[in-house]
């Protein structure tokens, strides 16, 4: 085998290795249950402060990633707000508005009378850290900050949210019973 052939073979092998690495990296999607959920300190909505998932340590959290331009986010919002009002003593809901205009996001919050905490992820970096595949997407986070469940897509109704958040609702109910 002459030098030229060796160089060509090495080049092709290198290219194949590079493409394989790309495919493997692309396949690395989604957080795994039990993993710590990434945290990021981001501006709040309405503007004026900063907040992070880490601020909710010790509580169960339903982290909901949304955007005002997203139709399914509009669809699930009333149910999510109702769920939060009915269960706010058992878990916190934290909204993450991603890749959105702040004015549009505020209109959305007012339109659906959303009362739970919101943080703004304008550049989408936090959504990327969470490895979301779109919006809306929800994550159930335990009091230690670890992922318990993941729900890509919109909740159909309040029952589907209760089903998703069942581990949190059951754990807090059990803790309440023990306290009595």
């Amino acid at each position: 085998m002459n030098l030229r052939t060796s160089v060509v073979i090495l080049g092709v092998a290198g290219l194949l290795a590079f493409l394989t690495w790309g495919l493997i990296s692309a396949g690395d999607s989604g957080l795994t249950v039990g993993d710590p959920v990434p945290v990021a300190t981001l501006p709040t909505l309405p503007e004026g402060g900063e907040a992070s998932l880490a601020d909710f340590k010790g509580d169960w959290v339903l982290l909901n990633v949304w955007a005002s331009w997203c139709g399914p986010c509009r669809f699930e919002s009333p149910a999510l707000e109702q769920f939060e009002r009915e269960n706010r003593d058992r878990l916190k809901v934290l909204g993450v508005d991603t890749r959105d205009l702040s004015e549009d996001a505020m209109k959305f919050i007012r339109e659906y009378d959303i009362t739970y905490a919101q943080i703004r992820d304008g550049n989408g970096d936090y959504a990327d850290d969470l490895k979301t595949t779109g919006v809306p997407e929800s994550f159930l986070v335990d009091p230690d900050g670890n992922l318990v469940a993941h729900y890509p897509g919109a909740f159909n109704d309040i029952e589907s949210i209760e089903k998703f958040a069942a581990p949190a609702l059951e754990a807090t109910a059990a803790a309440g019973d023990e306290a009595k």
Partner: protein, 158 residues
């Protein structure tokens, strides 16, 4: 050799003109949606805004149109978009890490290209020096050939 300084000066002017084209226009560019669509990214699609029809892109267009209506210039609109979506919204690579090459490689290309032109000109001049000076003919054909050529030419003499 007299032409070399002129060529070098021309090359320098061309390089400066290509490297700093924006400095020649003092006036602030008039903002327009089609132009900005080619200069900013859609926040969710990973493409230029002009190539996207996603709902997020449509909201971005509404935002830009409103700013143009309010009299904002291109830089003000870009600043506002960066405040909303972060610097990634600009269709320009970062000037950090590997993205820095996007800026360095063209500059290096210009420099290397300029050096190559200078080198080629100098080499050409040197080669010309080696050639016999004009007006001093070479050895020419042998005398027998010359005589034959003269005879041939004489036949066509009218």
């Amino acid at each position: 050799m007299k032409r070399l300084p002129g060529l070098l000066a021309l090359l320098a002017v061309a390089l400066v003109a290509l490297t700093f084209p924006a400095t020649s226009s003092a006036a602030e560019p008039q903002a327009s949606l089609p132009q900005l669509e080619d200069e900013v990214m859609c926040p969710i699609c990973g493409t230029l805004l002009g190539l996207s029809r996603s709902p997020a892109a449509e909201r971005q267009r509404v935002f830009i149109r409103a700013m143009i209506r309010d009299g904002a210039d291109e830089e003000e609109i870009k600043d506002a978009l960066v405040a909303e979506y972060g610097p990634q919204v600009l269709a320009l690579p970062d000037d950090e890490g590997i993205n820095l090459y996007a800026y360095l490689v063209p500059i290096l290309g210009f420099i290397l290209g300029g050096l190559a032109v200078v080198w080629a000109v100098v080499r050409m001049r040197r080669n010309r020096k080696k050639d016999p000076p004009a007006g001093k003919p070479g050895p020419g054909p042998p005398s027998s050939e010359s005589e034959r050529l003269d005879a041939d030419l004489a036949r066509y003499d009218l």
